[in-house]
Assembly symmetry: C2
């Protein structure tokens, strides 16, 4: 079934304890589209880029089945740029530079050819823009997923609460869930968030995996224990793309299907961090994915009789 992904397509400069990349392609919608297009085609992208975004990267994405009609190209401005440095634990990072560039003018437009999409991934953006995308949809999708961040909780809480009322699933990290609800217990935070609107909630815990909540149910997906985490950038967006891409492929939304989807998101994220940027996602084979999936099963499944 068809899927819309909304978010940034950008340049990143990244420093990790293992290396340095000066200007590589990044952005939430870039990572999400790479992961989702592994499962479902077309992925209908909504984003904004400047004159400097590499043509060959656009072609590579189109070749994977990512539609670019909803991607605005601004002729006289640069693409969004982020520079960050990871600490030794690879879970925390400092933002060194944020150049909004084209992102300052982003006003997402849903093309006519994108209408009737049944799955929508709203990447982390100003809440007003997320609402604008929902407003433009003529038919209610089967599933609208949103990502957000602490910055919007501090600067645009009213708008954020409006979006929350209109989405089916919120995806945030543990610190954000705590900030949004003022509850330290994630179980309490989850209950409060589900009262704010979303019927489903995913709390991402980085190297510690992710929790899926729905009513009184909870499912836990571990992160894959890797020997080396090379670059965590985009892991969360890759997780989101794998999650919604897999659901769009099977076309049916239920807690049971979401359990499988969250594992698929974790599988894709586990590859993302193995190399800089989208390198590993580009070279991924079906054999790689099946092998990792099998490892995930071995990692957590235990016999049901104790």
């Amino acid at each position: 079934m068809s899927l819309i992904t909304v978010g940034t397509m950008a340049f990143d400069a990244i420093e990790t304890p293992f290396g340095k990349a000066n200007k590589i392609v990044g952005g939430s919608a870039m990572y999400a589209a790479y992961a989702a297009s592994y499962f479902v085609k077309p992925v209908k992208q909504i984003s904004i880029i400047g004159y400097d975004f590499p043509q060959e990267e656009l072609i590579a994405m189109e070749n994977r089945g990512v539609k670019m009609e909803g991607v605005e190209r601004v002729k006289n401005k640069k693409s969004f740029f982020w520079k960050g440095k990871y600490h030794e634990d690879m879970n925390s990072r400092d933002t060194l530079i944020t150049d909004l560039n084209v992102l300052a003018d982003f006003n997402p437009v849903v093309p006519q050819s994108y209408q009737n999409a049944e799955f929508v991934m709203l990447g982390n953006l100003m809440p007003k823009l997320q609402i604008s995308v929902i407003d433009q949809l003529k038919k209610k999708p089967k599933l609208v997923v949103m990502d957000t961040m602490n910055f919007w909780m501090e600067t645009a809480m009213d708008d954020l609460q409006k979006v929350l009322k209109r989405v089916d699933l919120l995806m945030v990290n543990d610190a954000e869930a705590r900030e949004l609800t003022q509850h330290f217990s994630l179980v309490k935070a989850a209950k409060k968030i589900m009262e704010m609107g979303p019927k489903y909630l995913i709390i991402k815990k980085g190297e510690h995996g992710a929790l899926l909540f729905h009513k009184n149910k909870v499912f836990y997906a571990p992160a894959f224990p890797l020997e080396d985490v090379f670059d965590p950038t985009g892991a969360g967006d890759t997780f989101a793309g794998g999650f919604i891409g897999y659901l769009a492929k099977i076309g049916s939304v239920s807690f049971e299907n979401m359990k499988k989807a969250i594992i698929m998101g974790s599988v894709m994220a586990s590859f993302c961090v193995e190399k800089f940027g989208n390198t590993r996602l580009k070279e991924l084979t079906r054999a790689d994915v099946n092998k990792r999936l099998k490892q995930f099963k071995e990692l957590t499944n235990f016999e049901t009789t104790l």
Copy 2:
């Protein structure tokens, strides 16, 4: 099969954001024996207590099948005392007081009636004392598990390495695994630790669960997402006791059985933290345990076809 548990029986004073307990029974071997005795009897306890350790607590443990022949009672000294205060995240704590008291003279003796035990849990103690217990065993057990802490890595590393060569399984937390190996990656740390002696390794990650390593295999058990964590004291020792108690019950050591045992340890630990001290462990019913176990299955098991 019979099980020896070695460690402290003590008093704790605990402050958490949710309450305060001035002087309650604690100690690694107390928690381990409570959890293990849920599965297997007798549990053969080796510890040391002062004149002030409450008689009714000893009787309560004996009634659960915990043998006290290996517990030395010192008439003119106080029991080991620890006072700590937990931070709001409940994962970190400050030690405010450590009064060794009888523990300064602890010289564990394995009684004749404890010989031929097939399972041995060496709680966190000075490595020399752990070696002394192993030296006293006339027959090699099926499984010797040891716990330790960063303090011994910093003060008794040579002895610690000697114990490591003589145990089958090491149980440490993530920070300790990193300190012991100087590897930040837990997968790399695990490989290095298994080269130091133990064939099996469990890395505890508190609220983020635990990892079991053996050769190239890895299994992940989540911590149960609780609405309220009331007092984390003893959770690791309860986990250890549940783990080895369950293995001693089924009597067979294999990676598959350890997977089940680590879940059982997590189940017991999830109860321990719900109230102060051993309160919750004392009142636990079979129905409570079976219900939580079912919740653990729902929490992580997913269908094997994606």
